[in-house]
Symmetry: C3
């Protein structure tokens, strides 16, 4: 087995947990847990594979779906033990983001040979599952939160891609990419790191509908 698949399964499992946590916040039933866990965990990779023209990974290997289902059931029976479930969701999401940006970048780079596509696929794989989760669960989108999010995926994908092009061993590049993404996103969660947001002029009111 290719050792990079560790990042794929880690991403699946923690993203499934975030989907199940979102289901717990919406007080859905067990099937709602299964559905949101699966869509969150396999959504980003599904888009990645469709866009790359590769066979969709979980159709080739249905065990991925079983992993999602198992995680959803475990969260259903244990989420009440977690005091701050939205914070748990954000941290699991950070781990999934870091794992998936590396795996997506590897798959994009391997299949097309283009570093640009590798980086874009890393970002897309890492962020789309969470975007789908928030859309379907009607949560505020993680994309629009003030602290850094997409940037972390970009940092991880770019780190992995640059190191790989520079000839680093696969697992070293993957670990470095994972750490880059997780440290950026973790710092953003812990310390509220953010880029200066866009402001057209001082003191403008966000409510101005045409501005």
């Amino acid at each position: 087995m290719n050792p990079i698949l560790v990042f794929d399964f880690a991403g699946i499992a923690v993203f499934a947990a975030t989907g199940a946590l979102a289901a717990s916040r919406k007080q859905l039933d067990i099937v709602g847990f299964l559905f949101l866990a699966s869509v969150t965990a396999i959504g980003g990779g599904t888009f990645r594979d469709l866009i790359l023209g590769a066979p969709v990974f979980w159709v080739v290997e249905p065990a991925y779906v079983i992993v999602c289902a198992a995680v959803a059931v475990v969260v259903y029976f244990t989420a009440h033990l977690i005091e701050y479930r939205y914070i748990a969701l954000l941290w699991f999401d950070a781990v999934g983001l870091a794992a998936y940006c590396v795996f997506g970048a590897w798959k994009g780079l391997t299949l097309t040979g283009s570093p640009t596509i590798g980086v874009v696929m890393g970002v897309l794989t890492a962020t789309f599952g969470g975007v789908l989760r928030d859309l379907l669960a009607n949560e505020p989108s993680v994309l629009l939160r003030p602290e850094i999010y997409v940037t972390a995926a970009l940092a991880g994908s770019a780190t992995f891609t640059v190191l790989t092009l520079a000839g680093a061993p696969l697992l070293a590049a993957a670990l470095a990419g994972f750490l880059a993404a997780f440290l950026v996103r973790g710092g953003a969660l812990r310390f509220g790191w953010s880029f200066p947001p866009y402001r057209s002029r001082p003191g403008r009111r966000q409510e101005d509908i045409f501005k």
Copy 2:
């Protein structure tokens, strides 16, 4: 013609009607009816075919699009006769759900041979059109309603898949799957059937943003 296509056309027609009813609730114009009817009716099957790597059904046979357009026009001129249009939408949606979970499971099972993929494709085909409709029309998502929804698609897909693997004739398995899904969803609509929702502890307030 393969008789299972009856379920496909039935699903198309009633899902198109739900999209057009959603358009009527948003007071869109005739082109808005055509758009929402088409996206709702062919959205689930489009994702199914993309994920399975099959040619998209309505690109192969554009008559499906014509059916959507015809249904949208009929609803545009008759919706005012229906007193409770949201309730009509929910019942049409139930029929479409039942028809599409059978057809999706059949297509997934036939193309991949995997029962897991068959069941997942049945659920995905049956639910994604409605999810898209609610997202685009800015309606509350049918997924987040308290009564049973995804479960009905799961019941129908699983019934069809198990009976088919057990050697039942195609149409018998399809009818049994259709009835299983429709009875579960119809019972949920009529009697408010629901699984116990997830609750972390008694009396917790849904507004707690981090819990």
Copy 3:
């Protein structure tokens, strides 16, 4: 280079600008600008290519992604010069809509030979990027606005398709389609053109939840 590609690059650039303008309205950071600009600009064409079974255009030619990134950076540094950014967004969106409905119709017609698929692909390419932008940026959907929107894409796609089938030269049909779509959408923006919205009966209240 096929001259119809002019419409493709024009569509990319102005849709990227609308995504970046939406990011400026949400006060996102520079990476948020890059993300929303890219999704808006390449979202519609990505769905078009997936559905047609064609290789996704920006995977084949990553320069499209670079164009999106460049436009996002330019808008990041110049948007404060624009007084009414939402109005600018709507007019750029109108140009993108007109360019993309022609290019989408050409690609759909060329790849399948079916005029129905050509028209549908024109509408889908022209409208889906904007739909994604509004969903991700949590803006009111351009689809649900009272004035004409999808109709303009339909007018442009149909004009191009009919003229092409009638034997008109490619660029003449493309320009006519572009003008048809832009005049319809521009008139709608300037003069508030709309079809009569659907109304079930005089004076009914929009809040009636089941009607």
